[in-house]
């Protein structure tokens, strides 16, 4: 059961993230929900690559049979970078909308509809 704990965390984080994204109305909170979802995905990838008792996959240090898988770590690194760019862009949108509309409430940002 204990080795499933990371996967359970992934599921819990995904649910928290989805609920935040779908129910919160503040752009910043929606962004936080997206970040939680992103973390869940990252944790999922990292957990897939974990091998019990493995060491960090640094080629010069580790005996090859004891390494955790390096690929998911590379993926997660990339995904984190993308996540940062995403957060920065959404936050800048939030700043502009706060200036132009005077609100970051999603319910009030609906001049484009129909």
């Amino acid at each position: 059961m204990l080795w499933n704990l990371p996967f359970i965390t992934v599921v819990v984080l995904t649910l928290i993230g989805l609920v935040t994204v779908l129910l919160k109305k503040n752009i910043i909170k929606i962004l936080l929900g997206i970040n939680i979802l992103n973390s869940a995905a990252n944790l999922f990838l990292i957990t897939l690559g974990y091998r019990e008792g493995g060491v960090a996959p640094i080629f010069t240090l580790a005996p090859s049979e004891l390494m955790v898988l390096p690929t998911p770590q590379a993926l997660v690194l990339t995904s984190i970078v993308i996540g940062v760019a995403t957060s920065a862009l959404v936050l800048s949108f939030a700043i502009v909308l706060q200036k132009k509309y005077g609100t970051v409430d999603i319910d009030k940002i609906r001049r484009l509809h129909g």
Binding site: I34, A41, L75, I82, T86, V90, F93, V96
Partner: protein, 525 residues
């Protein structure tokens, strides 16, 4: 090694490298002078397009081209000591990818040429062209890559750059609102894609599309991954009922960008087809998934066109038509997918439906790009997108009017323009599958024509209005940009069969032939 050899061998990598390089040099070039920047972006776009055409030529003549990053040889997909797993990032350019490359190159060149004058009145153009080249790199990467995680990275590059472009003219916050909606939905979709990638990696220890395809078991987890990918990519290509971002984003982006956003959506459409055809193919229940895609398609066609009719903003109206036309592609290819397991039906009409859907991707990119560019030219001259305030522009903007007529007739499927050729293929093959679907498709075409008659009348017809008395024809670079697309619309309409033989049929074959794709990467599996 000569320059030509170098180009020939490294074309798949250069397709992404050149736009990225161009993008980040652009601000530097802009510091020197705007003329140098314009020359730089135009030159680089032409080089990129040339590389795309060289690559496409090579693919259509000699078959799929592999490019393995970091390997000793460009086609050494599986390293000798890896135990048969392609561990490197691989670009796999088959006929379908090359087909999309050609679309992106043609639209890219005409849109950039158009931007040179349509954006010349705005400031901050360094950022504009940087983002534009990032979009191009994103599209080329998405359609060329043979690695699923790489696909995700390019998808995100494309979303980030597109969102920046949509918000480029803040427009009192409206453009930012549209960009926010587009971007948050895209990010949510991208997270779905990431989860799906994790599922594949956990099961098959591979990220390479060919490797996953070869090992595909269609377990419960694979079903979940399939649904996540299909939903995310259908949302990105704007299929109803996931289309809500499309009219907002298309109407608020600068017109030149909107024409390219059409191509960006089609890159997602390509991703969708790649997933269902190359990764799953007949290991899954093709009928169910095929019908899901058909239903997406029919809903898109009907809801898109009916929502377009009451619109008052010219670009919003065209955006709903883009949704509607995406439905035709989903319908055609969905029918091809639904009968994929049945050889008799596939050879009877399934393959023709796929060809029609794929041909329509090309045609749609051309005429929809053309229509958005004409809308941009009108906006450039009169400063409004509100159809109620337009009228009588046919007296002064004659060439724009002619281009608009060409685009409008093509989108409505009026012979002899290219839209008719692909729609005819879809109608006749879908009729054999299910007559009701074909009838819906024809009715949607009629409604499309009706709504473009409305646009044509309210924009170009009527007496010359006093408020637009001194409106002039659009500038020459914009006309040339539109002219390129209009010429292709007419040429492809007049000579459809050679195009189908040379471009479309190989692309459809490449898509349907899962074994061929796997063999081209893993070597005769």
């Amino acid at each position: 090694m000569t320059v030509a050899d170098f180009l020939f061998t490294n074309a798949p990598a250069l397709l992404v490298v050149i736009p990225l390089f161009a993008a980040f040099i652009c601000p530097v070039a802009g510091k020197i002078s705007s003329t140098i920047r314009n020359l730089w972006v135009m030159g680089m776009m032409l080089v990129t397009a040339a590389v795309a055409f060289i690559l496409a030529f090579r693919v259509f003549v000699t078959g799929p081209v592999l490019y393995v990053f970091g390997a000793a040889a460009a086609n050494l997909a599986v390293p000798l000591d890896s135990g048969g797993i392609p561990i490197r990032i691989i670009f796999t350019v088959d006929a379908m990818s090359a087909f999309m490359d050609i679309i992106c190159a043609i639209v890219g060149v005409s849109v950039l040429l158009y931007s040179l004058s349509s954006e010349s009145r705005n400031s901050g153009l360094e950022g504009y062209y940087t983002l534009f080249f990032l979009m191009i790199a994103g599209v080329f990467g998405m359609v060329s890559t043979g690695d699923l995680f790489n696909f995700f990275v390019f998808l995100e590059i494309l979303s980030l750059a597109s969102a920046g472009m949509i918000a480029y003219r803040i427009d009192g916050g409206l453009a930012v609102e549209a960009a926010l909606k587009y971007f948050i939905l895209s990010t949510l979709g991208a997270i779905f894609v990431l989860f799906a990638i994790g599922v594949y990696y956990g099961q098959y220890n591979a990220l390479n599309i060919a490797m996953i395809a070869q090992r595909m078991q269609f377990t419960m987890l694979d079903k979940i991954a399939l649904v996540l990918l299909v939903a995310a990519l259908a949302m990105k290509c704007g299929a109803v009922p996931l289309h809500f971002w499309t009219p907002d984003a298309y109407s608020m982006a600068p017109s030149s960008v909107t024409a390219f956003l059409v191509v960006a959506s089609q890159a997602s459409l390509y991703g969708l087809f790649r997933v269902v055809f190359t990764m799953y193919n007949i290991t899954m229940n093709c009928v169910t998934v095929g019908w899901i895609i058909i239903i997406f398609g029919v809903l898109s066609m009907v809801v898109g066109v009916t929502m377009a009719i009451p619109q008052k903003d010219i670009k919003r109206l065209m955006a709903y038509h883009a949704v509607s036309q995406t439905g035709y592609m989903l319908l055609g290819v969905g029918v091809g997918l639904a009968v994929l397991g049945n050889t008799t039906l596939t050879s009877a009409f399934g393959f023709m439906a796929m060809e029609g859907g794929i041909f329509h991707i090309f045609n749609h990119a051309m005429y929809k790009g053309l229509l958005f560019l004409t809308a941009g030219a009108i906006f450039y001259r009169i400063g409004t997108r509100d159809l109620n305030r337009m009228g009588g522009l046919g007296h002064t903007m004659k060439y724009t009017m002619i281009f608009f007529i060409i685009g409008a007739l093509a989108i409505a499927g009026i012979p002899p323009f290219n839209g008719f050729a692909s729609k005819l293929m879809i109608y006749e093959s879908v009729y054999l599958f299910n007559p009701l679907l074909a009838i819906i498709a024809m009715v949607v075409s009629i409604l499309t024509l009706a709504s473009f008659v409305k646009v044509f009348h309210s924009v170009f017809m009527g007496p010359k209005l006093p408020e637009y008395a001194d409106v002039k024809e659009a500038p020459l670079p914009m006309l040339i940009g539109m002219g390129i697309l209009a010429a292709i619309v007419i040429l492809f309409g007049l000579f459809p069969q050679p195009v189908v033989d040379i471009l479309v049929a190989p692309a459809a074959h490449a898509l349907a032939d899962q074994g061929g794709y796997i063999a081209s990467v893993l070597g005769g599996a």
